[in-house]
């Protein structure tokens, strides 16, 4: 029973981080119709900025704010300088450019910050809560992670559903020309979409880093699982990303905890889950509408 509770909790916490990352992918997809493979490296870059600040004696919270701001700027710059020039061509070009960027940013981090493992402080305690004599795998820090992810999701839903900017972003992504004719500054919306997505990506990078070890490639597995979570949820729906992330986190934790030698089967399990869901629901669990496909 104790094992079940702990494995479930580890899965939920892992899943909430997958969800945060999936949110960033959903955001960029909704606002630009691009799949950004460089998301993980960009998030790693901002985490290392935060770590440098913490090492220089600044507080975690200041580092967090600076890292998120850095993510915003990085996202905007990447869109303007690197993605925009290839945007007119075949759709695949932009995606491949983000792949190149993924490797390049990682190399850059290694050059600047070194490729060693470093520990990343957590803002809250890393000791599990105790009930009587049993300690469960839920720490104050993981509560913080869960809450942060939920708040982010609510903000995103609100942005797309209730604000003009959110509407304009979606319009720009769907039909650039129509949006432009209606007076939406499409270029700006695309930049904003990238910038916001990078902020959410940075947040997920910081959340997974807290109380763990970071190195330039530490986001790699998260990129894969984040994509799987996003696709599970439908790639279009923030709530889908959250549900997809949590389901994936739980499933992988059960595989790791209950299947013999499960730790090695985790990546395989992720693929199997993805295949099964896509066979049953090709659009993902929360696909908003299939008619929208251009």
């Amino acid at each position: 029973m104790q094992q079940f509770v702990n494995v479930t909790l580890s899965g939920l916490i892992q899943g909430s981080i997958f969800a945060a990352f999936a949110l960033a992918l959903v955001l960029i997809w909704r606002s630009t119709r691009i799949v950004n493979f460089a998301q993980g490296s960009m998030a790693a870059a901002t985490s290392f900025i935060a770590l440098a600040l913490i090492h220089s004696g600044q507080s975690y919270w200041l580092a967090l704010v600076v890292a998120l701001a850095a993510g915003f700027v990085l996202g905007a710059v990447v869109e303007r300088v690197i993605v925009r020039p290839v945007e007119g061509g075949p759709e695949l070009n932009a995606v491949i450019v983000t792949l190149g960027l993924f490797v390049a940013i990682q190399a850059l981090i290694a050059i600047i910050a070194g490729s060693e493992f470093q520990s990343f402080p957590a803002p809250f305690g890393l000791r599990g809560f105790t009930f009587g004599s049993t300690t469960i795998a839920l720490t104050p820090n993981s509560v913080f992670v869960l809450i942060a992810v939920l708040i982010t999701m609510v903000l995103l839903v609100a942005l797309f559903r209730f604000t003009r900017v959110g509407l304009a972003m979606r319009a720009s992504a769907f039909g650039q020309e129509v949006a432009r004719l209606l007076g939406v500054r499409v270029g700006r919306m695309l930049t904003l979409g990238w910038a916001l997505a990078a902020v959410v990506g940075s947040l997920s990078g910081l959340l997974i880093a807290g109380g763990g070890l970071v190195y330039p490639a530490y986001m790699d597995s998260l990129i894969v699982f984040g994509f799987v979570a996003a696709i599970l949820g439908g790639l279009d729906s923030p709530i889908g990303a959250i549900v997809g992330g949590l389901l994936l986190g739980l499933a992988l934790s059960y595989v790791s905890g209950y299947v013999p030698r499960g730790s090695g089967l985790v990546n395989l399990a992720a693929l199997v889950i993805l295949m099964v869901v896509l066979l049953v629901r090709p659009g993902g669990l929360f696909a908003s509408s299939t008619a929208r496909r251009a």
Partner: protein, 446 residues
């Protein structure tokens, strides 16, 4: 077959024969035992005044922490030897390349070292998966593959299969046996959990441990390197009621297992195998969390581990003093670490091997020298090497120590053993001390 293609075949055949002859000519066996008085370019990678030695290390990537600094230690010792006249008047040219702990890269850089840089020998190539990728190549090329930096049995258990490869450090199975016997004697009532890397590092260790305490093991959990979420594994050890956990894991996973255990409120007696236990490295990994309000997680206080080399926390040890002198003279930055000592110790053995290979060493005379004389060499290792015509296994023993503050204290003196059913015996040899010059003086092996 048309006429022109037949001619092509003839030409190809001729070229093949010629290049084979050239290759044979490159490794002829002259002057191996010494005797001549002048230095000659006696084999590939050897000139009248230099010997080129190559290696591969993870200088970047997941395995880089700690391991990337081993070649700096070797560099420091070779520099020291070179400054003091080299080996038989030859300076050692130390070339090492980054494989990022990726076997594909290892193949590539070792190819470069052998074919392009034309090294005389490879020394201290690091890692089981990585070095496995190049063992066949090195043995088919006849390149001495000395002192592989990994405790796998692969390097030494079958010299007939890999005649050119030699292990160096105590193998994981022997380590497991010594750990198992120690637990059986000192903690006969412990419920033992095993935390294992899911490859032959973990398997060999487990095999050794289970020889002695199979009945005491309540759970064996395996992690896959790269999957950093070890929560389910540690939770399973806790759920199985383990109060004593033996880890055959790498340093980053020592830190991860400690963090996860803290999260779960799991407080067994920890026993990490030598590989995963460097207190300085793991301490540095964990220390940073003190800002995350877990200051007491920053030490491995009370953790038990094993040792087969002297360590930096014993500044009075004559070998540590020698290495400290060498390190300080090298002009490299930062304090000396156990990884540097590892590199310097390997370099020390390498110098012994080169000396024993004679004034004009050949690849064959080098390997013969290790086989014939290696078991008698005195060095920093706590137990002797097991080198012979039948075994290329390295150091055959370990002591058991406990981490206390920033130092370690000995719980059990050095015991020696070997693979399989070999008995575990107390080591009765004397502790060696380094020569006053700091450089070995081995005679050419006959």
């Amino acid at each position: 077959m048309s006429r022109s293609s037949r001619r092509l075949v003839t030409v190809l055949a001729a070229v093949t024969v010629a290049s084979t002859l050239a290759a044979c000519g490159g490794s002829n066996d002259n002057g191996g035992g010494g005797g001549s008085t002048a230095n000659e370019a006696s084999d590939t990678g050897v000139t009248a005044d230099t010997i080129k030695i190559g290696s591969h290390y993870p200088l970047t990537g997941v395995a880089a922490p700690g391991y990337s600094t081993i070649p700096l230690g070797a560099q420091a010792y070779f520099d020291y030897v070179n400054k003091n006249g080299g080996v038989n008047g030859r300076k050692i040219d130390w070339v090492y390349k980054d494989d990022a702990y990726n076997p594909t890269n290892t193949s590539q850089v070792v190819n470069e070292l052998v074919l392009k840089d034309e090294v005389f020998a490879i020394m201290g190539g690091l890692g089981t998966p990585t070095h496995s990728a190049v063992v066949d190549f090195l043995n088919s090329e006849g390149v001495p593959d000395l002192f592989v930096a990994s405790g796998s049995r692969l390097w030494g258990e079958d010299p007939k299969k890999n005649p050119d490869t030699f292990g160096w450090q105590t193998d994981y199975e022997s380590e497991g046996k010594i750990i198992g016997q120690y637990i059986a004697q000192k903690f006969p009532n412990a419920k033992v959990g095993l935390f294992l890397q899911d490859d032959d590092f973990g398997q060999d260790g487990e095999k050794g441990v289970r020889q002695f305490i199979d009945k005491q093991v309540v759970s064996a959990q395996r992690y896959t390197p790269g999957n950093t979420a070890v929560g389910p594994q540690i939770a399973a050890l806790k759920a199985a009621g383990a109060d004593f956990v033996v880890g055959f894991n790498v340093p980053a996973y020592t830190a991860l297992s400690q963090l996860t255990a803290l999260q779960l409120g799991f407080k067994p007696q920890w026993f990490y195998s030598n590989v995963g236990s460097d207190p300085t490295l793991v301490g540095a990994l964990l220390n940073n969390f003190s800002q995350g309000k877990v200051a007491d997680a920053s030490s491995l206080e009370g953790t038990i581990t094993t040792a087969y080399l002297p360590t930096v926390d014993h500044p009075d040890d004559p070998w540590v003093q020698l290495f400290q002198k060498v390190w300080d003279a090298s002009g490299q930055t930062g304090p000396m670490s156990n990884y540097h000592i590892y590199g310097m110790s390997q370099a020390y053995t390498m110098v012994q091997a080169l000396q024993a290979a004679g004034q004009n060493p050949t690849r064959k005379s080098l390997m013969d020298a290790v086989e014939k004389a290696g078991a008698d060499w005195k060095g920093p290792g706590l137990a002797p090497f097991r080198y012979s015509a039948d075994s290329h296994m390295g150091i055959g023993g370990m002591s058991v120590v406990q981490i206390s503050g920033t130092s370690t204290k000995e719980l059990q003196p050095v015991m020696t053993t070997d693979l399989g059913d070999a008995k575990i015996q107390a080591y009765d040899g004397k502790e060696s001390t380094p020569p006053s010059s700091g450089i070995p003086d081995e005679k050419a092996a006959k």
